[in-house]
């Protein structure tokens, strides 16, 4: 969705130009540190936002860049969450190794299901992802001995991060830890997107039939990016378990899959910061609105969706960049 000027720009130069850090990005990441001083009572919410932002980032890789619409992405989030919980229960409580385990299991399941995903497009694809997600949720619900079913997984206990920072009630450690993980994963995602592989993904989004014709096997690319997205979603799920010290069946729910699509589209799909901005706006809005009238929260979400689709086709970030372009021209 970035405008490419065609004047004497080699692919290498184009990618290099994309990789350069812009001042606004540095400002954004510096601003993520502000909650520590400005809103010390809202740090738990801030850590939820960081986790959800990471989850939205993982969906952005497949939906925003490769054009794969998934309504079952919570499956990988949930797998990561349960893996991290079970890991702390049965192995040890060190958080980083727990995250690695969550990422590994989610990645393996993601790789296995990517063979199914890469065969389908359009409505069939949406229904397959939805069906697999619902199947997994039903399976987790009936595997009561392992997951605790609808009662949630009990007995999760996480050691202090690096042996120094205990997870406290105010969410200081939770936010710092989630933010650090989010930043590291974001750097990886940024690197992936600004690589020839990232360009190939955008090619698949724009025209899936033409890609094989120019020598890029779109199925192999889809398998790869789907696995990567599953790994990131697994990390996000693991983070949620570790910062809240519990796992509810809700991590696998259809609502979570749908919410993350909404967030991403709200922020702007196909932009690295789209998921992060969308998650921030969505989570803060939900926090405020559901305080007023929880049962009508969905009305506002619905209205927001209708407005975004009819008036802001590329989300908040798309609308902003259009404004900026218009302002520069005049």
């Amino acid at each position: 969705m970035t405008q490419i000027s065609t004047t004497s720009l080699t692919p290498q130069l184009y990618l290099q130009r994309q990789t350069r850090w812009r001042p606004i990005e540095i400002v954004f990441w510096a601003a993520t540190l502000l909650p520590f001083w400005l809103f010390p009572t809202y740090l738990s919410l801030a850590s939820q936002i960081a986790i959800t932002g990471l989850f939205a980032l993982s969906l952005d890789l497949i939906l925003g860049y490769a054009g794969i619409v998934s309504l079952g992405h919570a499956a990988f989030f949930g797998i990561g969450a349960y893996t991290a919980g079970l890991f702390s229960k049965f192995v040890w409580g060190e958080p980083f190794s727990g995250l690695v385990a969550a990422a590994a299991v989610a990645g393996i399941v993601g790789y296995a299901s990517s063979f199914i995903i890469s065969r389908f497009r359009h409505l069939t694809l949406i229904m397959i992802t939805l069906g697999l997600g619902l199947l997994l949720k039903e399976a987790a619900n009936s595997a009561h001995w392992l997951t605790g079913g609808s009662d949630g997984l009990q007995g999760v206990s996480i050691d202090p991060v690096l042996g120094l920072f205990k997870f406290d009630l105010y969410g200081r450690t939770a936010y710092g830890y989630s933010l650090a993980v989010l930043f590291v994963v974001f750097l990886c995602a940024r690197r992936i997107i600004n690589s020839p592989f990232g360009l190939a993904l955008r090619g698949i989004r724009e025209n899936v039939v033409r890609m094989p014709a120019i020598g890029a096997d779109s199925r192999a690319h889809i398998r790869k990016v789907y696995t990567i997205a599953a790994i990131i979603a697994g990390i996000a799920g693991g983070l949620l378990t570790q910062t809240t010290q519990t796992v509810a069946l809700e991590v696998l729910s259809f609502e979570r899959s749908a919410d993350v699509v909404v967030m991403l589209v709200l922020g702007g799909a196909g932009r690295l910061y789209g998921g992060l901005i969308g998650a921030t706006v969505y989570m803060i809005a939900r926090d405020q609105f559901s305080g007023i009238a929880p049962q009508y929260w969905y009305f506002w979400i619905g209205a927001l969706l209708v407005i975004v689709v009819t008036l802001l086709p590329n989300g908040i970030l798309g609308g902003l960049s259009r404004l900026i372009r218009r302002w520069r021209r005049s």
Partner: protein, 287 residues
Amino acid sequence: MLPPVFGVLFDGIAYGMLLFVLSVGMSVTLGLMNFVNLAHCAFAMLGAYVTVVLMKDFHWNFFVTLPMAFAVSALVSVAVERVLYRRLYRASDLDQVLLTIGLAFMSVAIAAWFFGTTQQPISVPSYLRGSISLLGLDLGVYRMFLIAVGIAVTVLLVLTLEHTRFGAQVRAAVDNQRMARGLGIDVDRTFAVTFALGSGLAGLGGALAIEIVGLDPQFALIYLVYVLIIVSVGGLGSIAGSFAAACLIGVSDIAGKYYVPQLGSFLIYLVMVAVLMWRPAGLFGRR
């Protein structure tokens, strides 16, 4: 004396007929315009609430409320189509999904605002209640009525599609929209009429569903999953496909809940994923 498996089959097919009436409109509109309308069940819910209000507040007869449920849903759907959907026919799948799921969310909240989040019971006429004993099976009268309605709707739809001028236009537009336009068929008008009919049928389905599954504001979302499953399993734009898929899913769901209740809805999701893996375009789909 028949074994209980026939009772399960009977209940499953009755349930399938209900799902068929709910979903056939969506299948045809999807096949016709490639328009993914996730607010379809919101129209079904609207029909259901029309029946509830007319029966409770105005003491109408159940049978008289059914055409009203059909008409109100059809009229409202035309208004929504004119104002919102029309702009999105050429948009991407994702935009259509988002706009229509947004409408579905809003409908849930609006229904909760007007009617509260509790179940809305109705009392159908006494001659539709109870059951008839036949060869050792207890067959519910209301379920027989559902099967009759389902078959009647199917016959009417097939006759309309196969033997009228309008049906021929719809079939032409489903097969090849560009060519149909080239032949001078007003595809947009055909679509608007089909859309109204489909939403009206959904409204009728919603009204019929109250007695079987109850009615609360979550109806628009819960049955959306069923409708989507049937549409994708049956294949887009195919009435026969929707019919077969609705029976398959209805029987699987009832059988699953009867024989392995601890698995919940596992079975229908499994059936859907299996069918789609085997035939990505659905049982009767061509694309």
